[in-house]
Symmetry: C2
Subunit: 254 residues, 2 copies
DNA sequence: ACTAGCGTCATACGCGCGTTTGACGCTCAT
DNA sequence: ATGAGCGTCAAACGCGCGTATGACGCTAGT
């Protein structure tokens, strides 16, 4: 049966994956070397190529192990919501994205630092990670894009692309923060925050950026006055006279 | 006078900086090698160390050349606004951050792709870039943090840190987008968008995330129902009976 | 005319990287 | 008992990296 050998091999694979995950969370894809991984795992350098074929293949397996279940759950949750016949609103769709992530984050089986892994993955700039996400989860992203489009019929599709890009970038940036735990700790100020409330707060942050109306006249006016103010400050050093320069008139009052 | 030699040296310096900027915008700090830079600049490999001392010193000089003026202008604009005695509101402060960046982005002297450089700098994960920003522009960040704190007295300081982190991450993520120009082109749909309106739209996206109230009961309820829904879907595979499981009752209707 | 010094150049050094190789035990079916 | 096959190991390969070195041409002051 080759019991001992087989178990030893499986154990080595597991330790390599664990070490790779730990170091990836800490340093990201670049700044991750096989020598560091194998040293941390206590195995030989060649073990990675023996068991996985290459460094990238090992990382692909790691990512699939961690992300496949998350995205499958998100999809099932979206299906379940849409199956009721009602069109889920923007906040609900955001919740569908967040709730499985948070609950898996509490599940030790999903990894000891699942949320930080998630943040790293979504914000990592390396082509390897980007390609992996693109190739494996594009249809899921498309499904959610359509769901958002239905929930926000007043937002043009092009503008929606920008807003989603915007919202997801911010989220991944927050998740990837090294001192995320301290941020949450400060947020709670002693009293522990239930996940439900924490997620509701996140939704409250992201949702307005998606549902916001386009620029209002008041906002346009504020920007315009700042543009004028900057131009006048610059021309102070060039022509001391009163600036009637631009293509519109507005005083510089803050 | 050593005119020719001196000019040649200055020309080499300029070409190195230009090439370094171009490649940094395309690939970021990691993925940037001296051999690529010198090849692109048409100079010898040793030129970098001769003129700047080291690779990092050259990049520091590049960053200072590009970012010092921007942040100085931001600071002056904030000073000018606060000097009027009025407390600038959140949208105005965002405008103060954006307007100089956008106007410098239009200025060829600030670099051919200033906004993309800015996005790369703010979203680059390498310790070198992060340290440089931290060391050079921390006081400026502090000034703006205080300004936001005054503009948003109802937001606790700890929550404000999270929100600013969130907002700035999203912004840098959007700026760093490779196909940013196409996004803007789609946005405009033929008709050119004036900068003023574009900035107003950006402010309209970011501002709500800063001013939003904490999670409302309705949001909390939506999240809670999703949490229940996920739990019930999972227990379908474990116990087919009706789930009265959780610690609260709420039907799963979306 | 001579030479000090500057800018450029080819070249090499040491290092860490991902990958490959071949030998060495050990288990287990024959 | 034997030998095939698996998992591990130290060692090495080639590569690209940042940096350092010394020679070479040219300019410009003496």
């Amino acid at each position: 049966m080759r019991t001992t050998g087989g178990n030893q091999a499986a154990e080595t694979r597991r330790r390599l994956l664990d070490s790779a995950e730990h170091l990836f969370i800490e340093r990201g894809y670049e700044g991750l070397s096989m020598r560091q991984i194998t040293a941390h795992a206590g195995t030989n350098l060649a073990a990675v190529n023996y068991h996985f074929g290459s460094k990238d293949a090992m990382l692909r397996e790691l990512l699939s192990q961690r992300l496949d279940r998350l995205n499958e759950e998100r999809l099932q949750l979206l299906d379940a919501c849409e199956a009721t016949g009602q069109i889920p609103d923007c906040e609900t769709i955001l919740g569908i994205l967040f709730v499985p992530a948070m609950q898996l984050g509490r599940d030790p089986a999903a990894g000891p630092a699942f949320l930080r892994l998630l943040g790293r993955v979504y914000s990592d700039a390396s082509p390897f990670i980007r390609d992996h996400l693109q190739q494996h989860y594009r249809p899921i992203f498309g499904r959610f894009f359509d769901a958002f489009a239905r929930a926000l019929p007043h937002v043009p599709r092009s503008e929606l692309g920008l807003r989603l890009h915007f919202a997801l970038k911010s989220l991944s940036g927050v998740l990837a923060t090294d001192d995320m735990d301290e941020l949450v700790a400060e947020l709670s100020m002693g009293r522990p925050i239930p996940d439900t409330e924490l997620l509701a707060r996140l939704v409250a942050l992201v949702s307005p950026a998606l549902t916001a109306p386009l620029g209002t006249p008041a906002q346009v006016d504020k920007i315009h006055r700042l543009q004028q103010l900057r131009q006048s400050r610059i021309s102070e050093y060039q022509e001391p006279g009163p600036a009637h320069a631009g293509h519109s008139g507005a005083t510089s009052g803050a």
